[in-house]
Each structure stands twice: as structure tokens, then as C-alpha cells.
Amino acid sequence: MILPVKNSPKERDSALLLAISAGDRRALEELYLSYHRRLARFLSRFTPRYENVEEIINDTFMVVWQSAKDFRNASQVSTWIIGIAYRTALKSFRRQKNHTGARSLEDYPEQTVDPTFDEEVSDWLKHGLSRLPMEQRLTLELAYQMGHSLEEIAAITDCPVGTVKARMFHAREKLRQYLPTLGGAPSDLSARIG
């Protein structure tokens, strides 16, 4: 299959997905290589083991290969792929959590730190994020690490915009609780958006 001229990443992705839906493995390879770095950087923040990162990425692209023909142009290809990766990652992390007995921030109510230096902020953040419930952390990372808009995160996570806002609100509140000096002013937003 001859691929169309690619004028933008969006057009290129659409063209590649069209080719994939026709069974073109070269197109799958190209799409895989163009998304691998972004997905690997995102996922490696949740798991230190590359085997897990690779498993999630490859499971994601198995779904892309099998479901390309069902893709609807109502959403962007990038949102669709990241949405598949999100759901695959969530399942994988839940499995891991069951195996390792990982805990959430609620398990550490008294544990707060007061960093003065940037390195300490970074260290605190790493620990604080690792203790957030997975949906809340993914929402925060989708916004702050990957730069997605509210609407894009709603599409990726297949949730209403209000749910995304609520998850983000709870993530912010829990980080604030974990590090009061960084967390900004307290808020009673939960009553409004939760």
C-alpha cells in the first residue's frame, strides 16, 4: 500500500493507521517507532523495570493492530493510542499492586516532609506521586508530564471532564497533605466537583 503524503503528525498518524487497517506491517513499525519514546518515558515513571514498560507498549500496539479498522475519526489517533496505553497500563499496575501490596497515600497520614531545596522537592514529589491512587497519578502525569488538555485526558481515560477534574483535585489535595509547604491553600472543592 502506498502511503499518502504526510503533511503533519496528525495526517501521518491517520495515514499510517489506514495502512495498518489494511494489514500493512511496515506502517505498524513506523507508528510504533514514532510513539515508543513518548510512551516509554511516560510509563517508566510508574515502573522501574523496562520489561514492564515494553510489555505495556507491545500490548498497546497489539490492540492497535487488531482494532485499527474500527478506529473512528471522531478522535485523534494520538489520543486513541494513548488511551489504549492508559487502560493497558492501569491493568498492569493493578496486577503489580496486588503482587507487591503497594500502598496509597492514605496509608501514610502522618508522613509529611518540609523540603527546602529543589532536590528535596524532587525527592518528595517522587515519593508523593508513588503513593497516589493510580487513576489520580495518571491524570496528574498526563497533564504535567505529557501536557494533555482537560478534554484530551477525558478522551484518553474515557471519563467525563468532571471526573478528570475530580481526580486532579484529589491528587492535588493529597500532595498538599503530604507536603503542606508546597501544596498551596487548602480548598473545599471536593464538595463541588467530587
Binding site: 495515514a15 517507532l33 482537560l150 472543592l189
Partner: protein
């Protein structure tokens, strides 16, 4: 009740506070951005929260991420596809198998050569473009038409709910192929795939309800001429 506590109890405060993360990552629509700007100017609580979110966002962005080489992972994915195809009784075509065996060395060599050629072209082209830009306006008016891709005969817009399979079926029937698109406005540029006349292809396209718009872009032939 103080002025500040009145602000922090207002509906506007709660709505704006929920938007702060997307103000920080600069993805808010202009209207919402202005709304946040206006509120943050009068709300000390949101100013503090905004500063905190900026620090969190910067700290997340600054955390080192590991870059992995994707080729080995891709090979394993392809092996999974092969295994799946075999178990389904449809082994990959011989061309694919040969490709899998030989592709990587050739692919890497081709990539390096392509990068070298691309760099040479870019450097050469860079000066040519700089020169050309000096003689061109750096704007395009709303009424100026987009350049027509070579071979384009029809532009079309499809329903957003159309699946790729449906789209391909319609194009096959009208004997057209996509040469670019969709644009931001959802417009595809189509070229003819056969000797079928543009008029006939257009008629075939237009009979589908999922085709929202289809117009020829190539000139109409003279009366009596073939396409």
C-alpha cells in the same frame, strides 16, 4: 466575612481552581485562560495554589526519564504477531518473513543513509529557503487557497464517525486514493486510481451519506473531452 473569604467561597473560585492544572500546562482555551487570569488577580488562595502547581509541574518535567532503544522491543512485537498469525492458521506472507529476517540490518543502513541525505538536503535547502522567504510575505490571507497536492482531483470531507474500513471501501468503489489529509478541517485530498472519470468518481462519492462534502479540484474538461 472578609473580602478574601467571600472570593474563596464563590462558585467562580471553585471552577477556576479546578482549571489551574491546565492553566499551568498551557492547554486552556483562550476564554478559560482569561477567566483564570482575572480570578487569580483577586484571589490570594488561587495565587498560592497556582505557584504550587507550577512548582509541581516543573519538578515533574525536570525529573530524568530513561530513553530506551525501541528496535528490540519492536522485534518482539513482530514475533508476537507472527505467532498469532500462525496460531490462527494464516502465516505471514513470504515477503514479510524475508523482510523480518533481513529488515533490520537493511533498515538501519537505510536509516543512516537517509539521515545523511536529509541533513545534506536540509543544509542546502536552508539557505535557499532563507533567500526565498525574504521575498515572500510571512502571512497567508484567509482567501488565499492552499497549495494543491500533485495529482489531486477531488477534495472531500467525511463524517467524523466513519471507520477506516468504511472510508477505504468508499474510496475503492470510487477508485480514488488519499494523497494527503485529513487537514485540521478534516479535508482529504484524493487522486484518481484508475481511468474512471473524475465526474464518475465524484458521483460515486456523493451517493454515500458519510461523505459530507466532495468537489473536484482539477479543471473541468472541455465538452467532448474524455474525463
Amino acid at each position: 466575612m472578609t473580602h478574601n473569604s467571600r472570593i474563596e467561597n464563590s462558585a467562580e473560585h471553585h471552577e477556576v481552581s479546578a482549571l489551574l492544572p491546565w492553566y499551568v500546562n498551557e492547554t486552556l482555551q483562550e476564554r478559560d485562560r482569561q477567566r483564570v487570569d482575572a480570578h487569580v488577580g483577586v484571589c490570594a488562595g488561587c495565587r498560592a495554589d497556582l505557584a504550587a502547581q507550577l512548582r509541581i509541574c516543573e519538578a515533574i518535567a525536570a525529573q530524568p526519564a530513561i530513553d530506551y532503544m525501541p528496535v528490540a522491543s519492536l522485534k518482539r512485537l513482530m514475533a508476537r504477531l507472527d505467532a498469532q498469525a500462525e496460531s490462527a492458521g494464516t502465516p505471514p506472507p513470504p515477503q514479510e518473513q524475508a523482510t523480518n529476517r533481513l529488515a533490520w540490518r537493511g533498515w538501519m543502513a537505510a536509516s543512516i543513509a537517509a539521515v545523511a541525505v536529509a541533513v545534506a538536503l536540509l543544509v542546502g535547502n536552508h539557505w535557499a529557503q532563507l533567500d526565498a522567504r525574504q521575498n515572500q510575505p510571512n502571512y497567508r490571507t484567509v482567501t488565499s487557497s492552499a497549495p494543491r497536492p500533485q495529482g489531486e482531483v477531488i477534495r472531500a470531507v467525511f463524517s467524523p464517525s466513519i471507520t477506516l474500513v468504511e472510508l477505504q471501501t468508499i474510496l475503492d468503489e470510487a477508485q480514488l486514493r488519499i494523497i494527503s489529509g485529513p487537514t485540521e478541517a478534516g479535508v482529504y485530498s484524493l487522486a484518481s486510481n484508475s481511468t474512471l472519470t473524475v465526474r464518475a468518481s465524484l458521483a460515486l462519492l456523493r451517493q454515500h451519506s458519510t461523505v459530507r462534502f466532495a468537489e473536484r479540484t482539477s479543471p473541468e474538461p472541455e465538452a467532448g473531452a474524455s474525463p
